[in-house]
């Protein structure tokens, strides 16, 4: 079997497709027919099809995440964040939004960047609604680890 360089390498215009949306089983047999390889490849749609509030509920029950519902997406936290200044993939405002609404694909793509948070607390100083984003980042981190 040939060595694969990249997930979903057969996809035309591969750059349009996030890794998270590609399902590519090593071995796939359907009705006794070997469907492994490019025939078994599945690309999930980019469209948001549902909300899943399970992580949000875990964050809300965390002692430092309980104010997540106050967030109205102003972006003061991200504006004050020294990590976001260097790394555009870590965005506390965005993490709060996708957790609140439970956008699965976005969480798969960006969720683990929550651990980039240095807990400096600047976001919590500037937040106009006392969300305590620094605490919410900790709560999201915990929720993602404990996710069933």
């Amino acid at each position: 079997m040939s060595q694969r360089k990249k997930k979903g390498e057969f996809i035309v215009e591969r750059n349009y497709v996030d890794d998270q949306r590609i399902i590519e089983p090593e071995k796939l047999e359907i009705g006794g027919v070997d469907m492994s390889g490019r025939w078994g490849l599945l690309v999930l749609p980019r469209t948001i099809e549902d909300f899943d509030h399970s992580l949000h509920a875990m964050v809300k029950n965390h002692p430092r995440g309980r104010n997540i519902d106050r967030c109205w997406q102003c972006g003061n936290c991200t504006a004050a964040c020294p990590v976001a200044e260097e790394n555009p993939l870590f965005n506390p405002r965005y993490l709060i939004y996708i957790i609140k609404l439970g956008y699965k694909l976005e969480i798969e793509k960006f969720g683990n960047y929550v651990y980039f948070c240095g807990s400096c607390g600047r976001c919590s100083e500037v937040c106009p609604k006392d969300v305590d984003p620094s605490g919410v980042m900790e709560a999201i981190g915990t929720a993602l680890r404990r996710k069933p």
């Binding site: 469209t47 948001i48 099809e49 549902d50 909300f51 106050r70 109205w72 609404l101 956008y103």
Partner: protein, 357 residues
């Protein structure tokens, strides 16, 4: 030589029996002036009574607390002659001496009246969402307007057409507002009203998940409190974006839009969609503008002489009040009704002071 007394002053004509017109009539009657109140429909109270608003934003107080005493006072006070099912067809003359034609819509009879001054308070109409086909309003009974939801909330029974209580409900903001293809202006109250209704739905249907799909949240002034409360105490969800299409799939509604905060399309099934329909001047305002030869602005609202002084119609003896000038809340309409009544009282006192031989 003596001053004219009040009995020599013709009655004041008030057109429109909503919050502004009722408040103007009540205030003038209390000052001792005779009032003729002309209302197009068969009942007083304007939009809040016609559509059965359950409560008013921002404190969720029953609508009757505001409208009840006003209607009672106007109907019970001997100084106000209420003419329902009637419209004003024309007016000649000026301050102190108008001759007005009023037509009864039920029997077609016209009556000629004398009036000393005229207050126009013809209010607004809720935007008819059938005009904007993307939401399927009028085709799908589970797509309703906020004015219709008010009536359902008042009955205490919010169900889908099939009788089931809705589990997942979307509110779509700015329907028929801030849109070049319909109306350009902001209706100023629909954010607050929608949020108020979402809170009331949460009281009624505890397990319902509610999603507000918005471009901007414009809960002006102290109404802001509603917005905060809805998120913090009721867990109502806010999605920033616009909806392009709604399809019926079985007995659910597939709502297609873009979440502009994640830069991604969504296609989510909902049980019920509530459209935050805007305010427009309506046919009553257009008809009165023609009958009284009043200036109308580019949007169809009555145009005051100065944009910051609503009561001055630009015609001597004719005053404006309420949502026929611009979209506004009930509390603002009441204040404008009072303000117009004050202008009339001032003008008529000047007339009274004129010495009669």
């Amino acid at each position: 030589m003596r001053r004219r007394d009040m009995s020599e002053i013709h009655p004041v004509l008030v057109i429109g029996g909503g919050p502004a017109g009722l408040k103007a009539s009540a205030d003038l009657a209390e000052l001792g002036y005779d009032v003729v109140l002309v209302e197009k429909l068969g009942q007083l109270g304007g939009a809040p009574i016609r559509w059965g608003y359950k409560t008013l934003a921002p404190e969720l107080r029953p609508t009757e607390e505001v409208m009840g005493p006003l209607i009672e006072y106007v109907e019970g006070n001997g100084n106000v002659r209420v003419m329902k099912n009637s419209v004003v067809e024309g007016a000649t003359g000026g301050l102190g001496d108008f001759t007005v034609t009023v037509r009864n819509l039920m029997n077609g009879a016209t009556e000629s009246l004398k009036a000393s001054a005229i207050i126009v308070a013809t209010g607004f109409e809720h935007f008819d969402a059938k005009v904007d086909p993307r939401y399927g309003y009028g085709r799908n009974p589970d797509v309703i307007g906020i004015h219709e939801l008010e009536g359902m909330l008042k009955e205490g029974r919010v169900v889908k057409r099939n009788g089931d209580p809705p589990k997942r409900i979307a509110f779509i903001f700015c329907v028929g507002s801030r849109d070049k293809s319909t109306n350009l202006w902001c209706c100023t109250v629909c954010c607050g009203v929608s949020i108020k209704q979402a809170i009331e739905l949460k009281h009624l249907l505890k397990d319902a998940d509610i999603y507000m799909i918005y471009m901007d949240i414009r809960t002006f002034g102290l109404w802001e409190k509603l917005y905060w409360k809805s998120m913090e105490e009721y867990g109502i969800n806010y999605i920033r974006g616009r909806v392009g299409e709604i399809y019926a799939i079985g007995d659910k509604l597939l709502v297609k839009g873009e979440d502009t905060l994640v830069r991604g399309p969504f296609e989510v099934l909902f049980d019920m969609v509530v459209l935050a329909v805007g305010m427009e001047p309506g046919s009553g305002t257009a008809q009165v503008a023609r009958a009284l030869n009043l200036k109308v602005n580019e949007f169809g609202f009555l145009e005051p002489r100065h944009p910051n002084i609503h009561h001055d119609s630009g015609r001597d003896g004719i005053y404006l009040a309420g949502a026929c000038v611009a979209p506004m809340s009930v509390e603002e309409a009441l204040a404008e009704g009072s303000a117009a009544a004050m202008q009339v009282a001032k003008a008529l006192r000047r007339l009274q002071r004129a010495v009669v031989k």
